[in-house]
Structures are given as structure tokens and as C-alpha cells.
Amino acid sequence: MNDNIIGREDIKRMLSSISKVMNDEKDHLTELDSAMGDGDLGISMSKGFQILCDQFDTVEADDLGKLLMKLGMLLNANVPSTMGTLISICFIKAAKIGKGKKELNQEDLALMGQAAVDGVMERGKAKVGDKTMLDALVPAVDALSKAVAEGLALKETFKLAYEKAAEGVETSKKLKAVFGRAAYYGDKSVGSQDSGATAIALIFRGISEAELV
């Protein structure tokens, strides 16, 4: 890891690590989404990140904004389910922050996380407590911002973000779903963890486990 700076190669490694995690946890995600949804989340997450890894080298862009933009579009075109779309939105929103940059510093990362949260809330209309992926994403991004403000190292920062995301997943168990297919289950959704929040935690787990250059 080079001075807490993220470059193109780092992004590639992060994606590859996330892809590995998603593949390992595919059945678990399928199981969670089958209980309160249509069961496609395991396939869509593992397939989505696999495609990003497979196609990464075909995306020629030194501008990391452009890179993230293309990756977001690639994911979106291939995984048009709700989570696929929302994660793609995160990529696109982050891309705007990265526009024109060949490297990202910690401040950039914090801004990107915040942009992603804003984007998901703007487009999906949900908020924390609605038993969605936001219940993991928001605490993770908050932790990221806080760690950056405190000047923590990147490795540490990602670890904290993942921990907070995982806590968010636990919190989601107590909540009642009001968005997405799980909302059809109403009160019955209380007690089980939200599958989208779980996927977010797995993404941060992947990031935190990546061997950055």
C-alpha cells in the first residue's frame, strides 16, 4: 500500500477480493434473499463482481472517474436487479468525485462514500431504519469518514468500515422491511437480516481483505 493512496491496480485488487467473497457467500445470500425476496441476490452479486473482474482490463482509462463510471455501467447493464442497480449507482456517484484523477486519497474515498449514500437515498427514497442496504452502507461510510478525519491508515479505515457494516446487518434483524420485495412480508420480515445489507457488508469485507499495492 502506497502512502494511503488508491490507484487503478488497487481498485482491481479490491474488486477481485470482493468477487472472491461474493463467490464464497453466494449460497448464503441466495438463502437470505429466498426467505424474504426472489432469491436472485447470490447469483446477481457473484455474477456482477465476476464480470467486473473479467472485463477490468478491457476498460482503458487512467482517469479513475472514468474507470468507475465504466465499471458502474458494466455492472448495471449485466445485473439490473435492485441491488445491482443500487451498487451501480454507488459506482457512478463515486465516479463523479474521481473525475480527472489518477489517484485517490483518503479524502476522496470519504467523499465518494458519502456521494454513494446520497445517491442511493436520492434514487431509492429509503432511509436508515427501513431495513435496506442503507442500514449497512450508512454506518460503514460514517466510519470511513470518521477514520479519514482522524487520519487513520487506509487498511485500518476499511477494517472499521467493514465492522460497522456488519453491525448494521445485525441491527437490520430488528427492523421491519418497507422497501423492496421484503416489504410484502411486513411484520414477518422482523427477525431476519436484510439480504441487501448483508451484501454491502460483504463488499466492505472484500475491500478490507484486499492486498493493496
Binding site: M73, N76, A77, P80, G84, T85, I89, G124
Partner: protein, 334 residues
């Protein structure tokens, strides 16, 4: 599930492959992506481009309205599911003629989210994007909450008006104003007699007794206003027109265009029996009919049922409605 299809998961792709094979002079794919279709004829520099899209299963909605005098490009989702914004973006990029893009589509959550993202991305490419959503279904939200209403068959009029305005080289603001005006002047009410079957799900979207009908049901089987015993065609049409006429101002001397739309399985004979009643009611009220469209303009696979749309005209709308239009699914030459 009684359908003439191959693998259910290939339904969407094979439909579009068939369409492209049949109409290569009219429609082509963007980057070989069957979800992204644009006009195959010469692009017109500085013409406002109109982008549309939505879930599949509603032919001729949406891709059937891509052509001269209507829309310029379409993004096609899976059956009854919004397409991805990345594909909408590709379509927007492909159709822009330097005069901006109007995104014109039906008012559904998934489509709204995705078109909003596509707009954002096109904006980053310095393409000006405006949006108008079809909200003609009076059964889907009460008066005063028009922006919560679903878009159904009446979106045809928005395509027709905006498309004609764009061919006349009006600018983006003007095309957008006219599209919104067309939407504001359009009211639709539908009834369903039987459900449809999504190819991949393989079962009916809803169940309904043999002697029942659902008034105000949406084109994806969204619940309507009430479920009643099967009424006569005349009573059904009277009910529908009553709902429509209470929702908007129509008075003696007004002129409207009428669209009687079949949802899929209903024979043309029944559409004309319905038109007969519409015509009688409007004549009684002294409302003139200028142009009538009777046929399948927005379907739900093999659902049985009809919708009736009134499009209130004024001078400028009438002129644009009369303009020619041409797609493989819709022709108006006079």
C-alpha cells in the same frame, strides 16, 4: 402456460431478434445490444431526440413507437421490469443530435430511478436531458395526485405530439412543454377480464372468477378500483367514460381524439363495439371526435380487456396529432 415460445428466459431476446430481422430498415441495435434499439434511418442534425423505454410485454409499447414522427430510441427491459440505466444512457448517446434528449416514459418506480440515473450520466457528457412521464391512468391515483398515476395506453399521444414537434425542429424546451401538455390532456381508464402469464414466472399475474371483471386494473395487473360482475360492453364504457369525464374538463364544443385499446386477447370486434358506445356518449354531450385510434396500442401479453383514452385537443395539439408518423408498428400518412 399456453404460449408459443421457446425457453422462457429467451422470450425477450428472441422477440427483439425477430423484430430486428423483420424490420432492419427501421430499427437497429446499439453496440449489438438487443436491449438498446434506435431508428435505422438517417439522423437529423439538431433535431431533439426522444428516448423511451420500460419493461417488455406491452407491444407496441415501447419499441413500436420508435420511428419517424415519434421516438428516436428505446431501452427494453425484461418482461414488466425496468431496463438498466446504463442501457438507457447508451441509447441517449446514440440518438442525440446535438439538440438534447427528452426522456419520455411511463411513471413507474423502477423506470423513474433508472431514467434519472441515465439523465445524470448524459448530463456528464454535456447532453441536455429533460423528462416527461406518462400519467394517464385515472384509476391509479385520485385527482390532484396526477403525478402518482401510472402511464398506460395514453402515452401514445405524448409520443405522437412530442415526436411531431421534434420533426418540426422545435427546440428541447418546446418539445418538452408539448410532451407534458399532451400528458396533461390525456385521461385513460381500463378494465381487465382475464390475467396474463409472465413467461418466466409461468403463472397468471392474478386470478379472477369467470363472471367477474376488474375496473381500473393496471397493465401489469395492478389492482383497480373495484371488482364487479361482468357488465355489458355499453355499461362498462359508460362507467369508464364517467370516471374520465369527472377527472378533467370536457364540455360541449370541445374536441377530443379517442383511443380504444385492446390489452391483448380481446378481439377487434369488441373494440369497435366499445368505440360505438364512446361515440354515442360523446355525441350526446356535444363533444367532437377528431381522429380515433382503435386497436392494440399498449398490451399486457395475452390479457383480455380494454382501455379507453380521451385526448383533449386544442389548435396546436391537433396540428401535431395530424402530422405523419411511421414505424413498423404504427403508420399515419394522412
Amino acid at each position: 402456460m399456453k404460449k408459443l415460445i421457446n425457453k422462457p428466459e429467451d422470450f425477450g431476446r428472441e422477440t427483439i431478434e425477430g423484430i430486428i430481422l423483420a424490420h432492419p430498415e427501421s430499427l437497429k441495435m446499439v453496440n449489438g445490444n438487443f436491449r438498446c434499439l434506435v431508428r435505422a434511418d438517417e439522423k437529423k442534425k439538431s433535431k431533439v431526440a426522444i428516448s423511451t423505454g420500460g419493461g417488455a410485454g406491452h407491444l407496441p409499447v415501447f419499441l413500436g413507437y420508435v420511428g419517424y414522427g415519434l421516438a428516436d430510441g428505446v431501452t427494453v427491459g425484461n418482461v414488466f421490469t425496468s431496463p438498466a440505466f446504463a442501457d438507457m444512457y447508451e441509447v441517449g448517446m446514440a440518438i442525440d443530435n446535438g439538440a438534447g434528449v427528452l426522456q419520455l416514459y411511463g411513471n413507474y418506480g423502477g423506470d423513474k430511478m433508472n431514467f434519472a440515473m441515465a439523465a445524470e450520466m448524459l448530463d456528464m457528457e454535456d447532453i441536455r436531458v429533460t423528462e416527461v412521464r406518462g400519467t394517464d391512468d385515472v384509476a391509479s391515483a385520485p385527482k390532484g395526485e396526477e403525478d402518482k398515476r401510472r402511464g398506460v395506453a395514453g402515452i401514445f399521444y405524448a409520443y405522437k405530439i412530442a415526436g411531431a414537434a421534434a420533426e418540426k425542429m422545435f427546440n428541447l424546451d418546446e418539445v418538452t412543454r408539448l410532451a407534458q401538455k399532451a400528458v396533461d390532456h390525456t385521461r385513460t381508464m381500463g378494465v381487465a377480464l382475464s390475467p396474463c402469464i409472465l413467461p418466466e414466472a409461468g403463472k397468471a399475474t392474478f386470478t379472477i372468477a369467470d363472471d367477474e371483471m376488474e375496473l381500473g386494473m393496471g397493465i401489469h395487473g395492478e389492482p383497480g378500483i373495484e371488482r364487479t360482475k361482468l357488465m355489458t360492453c355499453d355499461d362498462t364504457v359508460s362507467y369508464m367514460l364517467d370516471k374520465i369525464m369527472r377527472d378533467y374538463e370536457y364540455k360541449a364544443g370541445d374536441e377530443v381524439s379517442v383511443l380504444v385499446n385492446g390489452l391483448g386477447a380481446t378481439p377487434k370486434e369488441e373494440l369497435y363495439i366499445a368505440y360505438r358506445k364512446v361515440s354515442q356518449i360523446l355525441a350526446e354531450k356535444g363533444i367532437g371526435i377528431h381522429r380515433r385510434y382503435i386497436g392494440e396500442f399498449a398490451t399486457s401479453l395475452e390479457m383480455a380487456g380494454i382501455s379507453v383514452t380521451l385526448f383533449k385537443l386544442d389548435g396546436e395539439l391537433k396540428e401535431l396529432l395530424d402530422a405523419p408518423a411511421y414505424t413498423p408498428f404504427f403508420q399515419q400518412f394522412r
